[in-house]
């Protein structure tokens, strides 16, 4: 049923095709976070892949920067309803990370973990096959702290809370364990094209 007197501002067909349901386009880059921006020093930064409590591989910043670099260009979608088109990110793909450490995923799920005690759960299948990276650059520049720098996860086909800022590692889990927002009313998977924003969304 139409809302009396509301006409809206329909985007162009080209933009509309790229916007998942309920999203609108923004040109700026909003910042959302559960708390203060942590100051993470590249000199002491480490990225660690764990299988439950057991470390499998770990990199210093310099070691991480020496891994093969990947660039991705495309659209990102925040559950708070903004979408940003044609963003450009560079970093290390999860495929390259796993390959560098000769890791075969020991389970089908993991938690991405951050320096501010944030975490978020993901199926491994959504991180491999060129779908995700640990991003260290945005639009060619070192990633700013308020956008997750030095490094954040980038999983652009899911709502952006899954792309954990200030990421310090990945932890394989035997089951799909709810992360920070997933325990606080947000969807376990978070596909923007199916508008999986909140816990009970289909």
């Amino acid at each position: 049923m139409a809302t009396r007197g509301f006409f809206g501002r329909r985007p162009s067909d080209e933009v509309a095709r790229r916007l998942p349901p309920g999203q609108y386009r923004t040109d700026d880059f909003p910042v959302l976070a559960k708390g203060p921006t942590p100051q993470v020093d590249r000199a002491t930064w480490r990225f660690t892949i764990n299988d439950g409590p057991r470390p499998l591989a770990s990199w210093s910043w310099a070691e991480f920067e020496a891994l093969p670099q990947t660039t991705w260009r495309g659209d990102i979608h925040c559950v708070t309803k903004w979408s940003k088109l044609d963003t450009i990110w560079s970093g290390v793909s999860i495929d390259d990370l796993l390959q560098a450490a000769a890791i075969t995923p020991p389970s089908a799920y993991l938690l991405a973990e951050s320096h501010d005690d944030y975490d978020t759960n993901l199926p491994v299948a959504d991180l491999v096959g060129g779908k995700a990276m640990i991003a260290t650059r945005f639009a060619g520049m070192p990633l700013e702290a308020e956008h997750g720098g030095p490094a954040r996860l980038l999983v652009p086909h899911l709502y952006f809370w899954k792309s954990a800022k200030w990421v310090k590692g990945l932890r394989f889990t035997p089951r799909d364990e709810a992360g920070f927002w997933e325990q606080r009313g947000y969807h376990m998977y978070g596909d923007p094209w199916r508008e999986q924003r909140y816990t009970n969304d289909p």
């Binding site: 809302t3 009396r4 509301f6 309920g22 609108y24 923004t26 910042v31 921006t37 309803k81 927002w181």
Partner: protein
């Protein structure tokens, strides 16, 4: 629709606009009658408007009213280039129906059982979820000390200003400090400059309470500046919750 889906807290519901009240030159309160489930102070709702051709626009708005009230109050700031906020300022009137889903959010929330002392810091329309907390606190936990430091450009732009002054007059545990960045202060205890680190230190020293939980809400620039100062002053980022307004409208 299955019974489960029908009872899910996040399904869209029809909400009738009961009344709209001007709060400041740029902010109106929109009172909605909608049967939301149980909620907690600090949560938000999603709003959906539908054009005659089926086009829909969705936005999130924080709830200003305390849990337990029959109506919910949203406070909507008019953004000149906005798509949804001008509707509430210029078009909407009592009796109109919009769609709502919620309540949403399980982090930037306060319950009486959480206790205090509570430090609340608002920038501009960031006061809205904090107002819900203050209103809830004033009926459920009046002995818990609360300090609200609220920054706006001018005295006239402080949303809920008179109600906050009234609560402060009635509740000895509630301290309200207004800080105006582009206009004079109106009371001796207020500030007439940006909330920087030295201002925050002075406020906290004057208040003299050991803060348990801090809630900061406003624009990203405001929240970044305040939380950076707070972390330097208190060294405890884990007790600080933030909510940042971003995007357009």
């Amino acid at each position: 629709m299955t019974a489960d889906a029908a009872s899910a807290p996040t399904r869209w519901q029809q909400a009738v606009i009961e009344r709209i009240e001007a709060q400041t030159p740029r902010v109106v309160s929109v009172f909605l009658r909608v049967p939301l489930g149980p909620r907690v102070a600090g949560q938000h709702v999603d709003v959906r408007l539908t054009a005659p051709d089926g086009y829909q626009a969705e936005r999130s708005y924080s709830i200003a009213s305390a849990p337990g009230t029959e109506d919910i109050e949203l406070a909507v700031e008019r953004l000149d280039d906005g798509e949804v906020s001008p509707f509430f300022h210029e078009v909407a009137r009592p009796g109109d129906t919009i769609e709502i889903r919620g309540p949403i959010g399980g982090h930037f929330v306060w319950r009486a059982a959480d206790g205090g002392p509570i430090l609340l810091i608002a920038g501009g329309s960031g006061v809205v979820p904090l107002m819900s907390i203050v209103r809830d606190w004033s009926t459920t936990a009046r002995t818990t000390p609360v300090l609200l430091a609220y920054s706006a450009r001018t005295w006239e732009e402080l949303v809920f200003r008179d109600e906050l002054i009234d609560i402060e007059a009635r509740q000895p545990s509630f301290t309200f400090i207004a800080t105006t960045t582009r206009g004079p202060k109106h009371r001796p205890q207020d500030l007439d400059r940006r909330l920087d680190r030295s201002q925050l230190r002075e406020l906290l020293t004057r208040w003299g309470r050991a803060v348990r939980d801090t809630y900061v809400c406003g624009s990203n620039a405001f929240v970044e500046a305040v939380t950076t100062s707070l972390v330097l002053e208190t060294g405890s980022p884990a007790s600080i919750r933030t909510e940042r307004y971003g995007g357009k409208d």
